[in-house]
Amino acid sequence: MSSHPATLPADARLHIEAGHSWAKLPIVAFVVGVAGIAGTFALGMGNTKQLYHSWLVALLYFLSLALGSLFFVLIQFLAKAGWSVVVRRIAENLAAPVPIFALLFVPILMGMHDLYHWTHADAVAHDELLQGKSSFLNNGFFIVRAVVYFAVWSFLATWYRRQSVAQDQTGDHAYTRRMTMASAPGVAAFALSITFAAFDWAMSLDPHWYSTMWGVWYFSGAILSAFALITVFTLRLQGAGLLRGVVNGEHYHDLGKLVFAFTVFWAYISFSQYFLIWYANIPEETSYFAHRMGNSWESVGILLMVGHFAVPFLFMMPRTIKRNPATLFLGACWVLLMHYVDIYYAVMPNLHHEGVRFAATDALAFLGVGGVYLGLALMMMRKGALVPVKDPRLPESLAFQNV
């Protein structure tokens, strides 16, 4: 095993300079994003129920990537991790666009009536269960909560990136200390906000149904796909000639291990939720899976078992897969695809009880939300170095070995 020097190589390219192939990417992403949004609304206005459901899937998907990245940053400080410093800035850049989701959330507010049954006053008037929940599930409080979630996430994502970038100038250890101090309360605030956001935006689509595991389920998908997304970005940046001699097989090995481990975590959470509901067989709980069985959604469920668990579990297990850029890239992209299927499977059966019905707006909303989010993330990457160059633990990360 070769040993890696603990200093940044003199010829390492740490900036996306003007003229580099990645310099144009934000514009490309924004064009795709704006076109996607325009297309979604142009095509979707005829069927607003479909439009808003498509939008919600795209929003929950890309938001989970940003939130997962934010959580990645938080735990690196909480655990005082050394190995991950070379990839942390990429995660910071992927988390930093979180505030834009407050804007992308506006269509959800516009479509509340189409999305959420509990907003129908006439339905609530005849439904004792919904009346009981109305102190929680009502338009005003729903919006207030959304404002709180976005405030918490935006503050954390923006603050962490700012602190980290500021440290690039001075190398002052006080930045690291402050970020470490903030990470523990940050994780607590993050946990509560992501849980209730998942309850509000996804679980309340079927307002009669409930599961204490729901928040953990959304979190498990978010953190898994964030590991995959960070891996994909690091690999592509390196493919474009950046970060050479900075990120190496040791770091990829660790990222691959995390993708592997959290594939199992996602499966553990999803299985536990399904299994306990199936075993107890209580009608008010089984309704969730009853909608998803006996029609084409059942195939999607099986696809998740195989594609979201068995395939990445077996594929990501060998050491060589995780240390080979090509195979790791494949595995990470696959996980990102399956995470979309997982979110789709959670949301769409509420609209299409009869079975899977793809709509053009699904694809357009994906491009729209994804284009705007990734465009902003790519813009962040252009601003400043791609590595926290003066982080006190950078030497440890550069010299890091899997032993």
């Binding site: 607590a188 509560l192 729901w214 553990y268 306990l276």
Partner: protein
């Protein structure tokens, strides 16, 4: 040759450009061996009293079990709705404690937490003893203990099989596999240290016995290579096992339809609680042990602080689960579910519920403050609260939901008898007897592993040149 002397202040200094030292004092490889072997060479005058007290408690357990076998489970406080009392509570309590050891040795190993080397041996031993205590309760609670073999799917002429759909049967497999793998893991880690004990043994019998168990270890390159691979594989295998055991235990409750038992968050919530209680017990055992056996240089305040942080994290996760249960009980609109939780907090068992909340959720919050979590006495006191709280958690779960079930006409209040108390207290006798024997005969710190995280283990280490602030990151080990 001068050795750098690290102090507690160096360790708690929190430098960001290098990792804190894990072994304090001016220790070198030889002195670490001597330090760990000393309690075995000269047990001191505390050992016999501790052993005798433990043995007496074990005797109490023996009497309680003997009377139980003679008379039947009627001697316990079980009544009609509460047909699952302290036996299941004690079982889950002990199994939970049995999680810390393998978590430390497997999961912290995979996460490269080098500070685990100071505490993993004792924690793993504690795990095995806790699992032994845990297994004793399902064994005795069947009443006719001579028919215990019925829990195993053994082909028999009556064609009577255990119910494969029952999580209680899965428990048999889950706990016994976990116990077996934990034992293998512990023993694998012990082999180099047993060889050390063999080589320095003065008596012929000791040399024979240590030699027998050391399996001919000579510390050759090939031995170490096999050892390292075995250790990594066992860590990989143990990691899902740590999670699976308490997941299956949570299924014992959660697959039912009983309000307060059936909720989807149970598996990860139980696992978090198990780790919480396990670390609580590790702290309870090691804070006095490090003083009694003079191991303060190896089991340092930094180790205690890290464990306190894990307690804060897992205690708060348990608090999150309590909150989710409570919120969803209300949100579900299910009157039985809401009643179960309202009844827990304000019903006849509210004293137990609030004991649980205070001990499990509130008491670890003190660990937000560095001053408190680096004060061993304070951490010790909180660890006792954690032990109490986690026992009460299982009591609250098992008993409150049963005592007030769907039919108000069958409600009854559960009170333990003297025999319930005797078997619970007595099980501590089993636990501490095994633990005192362990510290008497087995190196309670992993000698070989601790040496790997000392500066001297670095091939580039120059004793003369090494100064506190000049040492490289790699050379100073890594306390996170």
């Amino acid at each position: 040759m001068a050795t750098t002397v690290y102090t507690e202040a160096d360790q708690l200094e929190e430098r960001l450009d290098q990792r804190a030292p894990l072994v304090l004092g001016g220790n070198d490889f030889h002195s670490v061996t001597e330090l760990v072997a000393r309690p075995i060479d000269r047990p001191g005058n505390m050992w016999w009293p501790a052993f005798l007290v433990s043995l007496t408690l074990l005797g109490v357990y023996g009497v309680a079990v003997a009377y139980l076998v003679w008379e039947g489970v009627g001697i316990w406080g079980l009544n009609n709705p509460v047909d699952w009392g302290w036996a299941i509570v004690n079982f889950v309590f002990w199994v939970g404690i049995g999680h810390a050891g393998t978590l430390i040795s497997a999961i912290l190993f995979l996460f490269r937490q080098k500070w685990r080397t100071g505490i993993n041996r004792a924690a793993e031993a504690m795990t095995l003893f806790a699992v032994a205590c845990a297994l004793s309760f399902p064994t005795i609670h069947v009443g006719r203990v001579w028919l215990l073999y019925w829990v195993f799917p053994i082909p028999n002429q009556m064609a009577a099989w255990p119910n494969f759909r029952s999580p209680l049967l899965w428990d048999v497999f889950a706990v016994s596999i976990y116990g077996t793998v934990s034992l293998l893991f512990w023993y694998t880690g012990l082999i180099p240290d047993l060889a050390t004990m063999r080589d320095r043994a003065k008596g012929a019998l000791a040399r024979k016995l240590y030699g027998f168990f050391a399996l001919g270890w000579r510390g050759s390159q090939r031995h170490w290579q096999n050892y390292e691979s075995a250790y990594l594989i066992l860590a990989g295998v143990s990691t899902p096992l740590v999670l699976s055991v308490h997941t299956i235990v949570s299924f014992d409750f959660a697959v039912s339809q009983i309000p307060g038992w059936h909720t989807t968050i149970f598996p990860p919530y139980f696992v978090a609680g198990a780790i919480f209680s396990g670390f609580g017990m590790v702290l309870t055992l090691l804070i006095p042990s490090r003083i009694i056996f003079g191991l303060k240089d190896l089991i340092t305040v930094r180790h205690i602080e890290n464990m306190a942080k894990i307690c804060l994290l897992t205690g708060t996760m348990v608090g999150y689960a309590y909150a989710m249960e409570f919120f969803i009980a209300w949100y579900s609109g299910n009157p039985y579910e809401s009643f179960a939780f309202f009844n827990r907090a304000f019903g006849p068992y509210s004293w137990a519920y609030w004991t649980m909340i205070s001990c499990n959720v509130i008491s670890p919050q003190f660990f937000w403050f560095k001053k408190l979590r680096t004060n061993p006495l304070f951490v010790f006191i909180i660890s006792i609260f954690i032990n109490i709280g986690m026992w009460f958690e299982r009591f609250v779960i098992a008993v409150t939901s049963l005592a007030t079930d769907f039919l108000p006409s069958s409600w009854d209040y559960y009170s333990p008898t003297i025999w319930d108390v005797a078997s619970f207290i007595g099980s501590f006798g089993l636990f501490f007897t095994l633990f005192t024997l362990f510290v008497r005969f087995v190196p309670m710190v992993a000698i070989a592993e601790v040496k790997t995280v000392m500066p001297q283990a670095d091939p580039h280490h120059h004793p003369a040149a090494a100064s506190k602030h000049g040492a490289t990151v790699a050379a100073r080990g890594g306390a996170h």
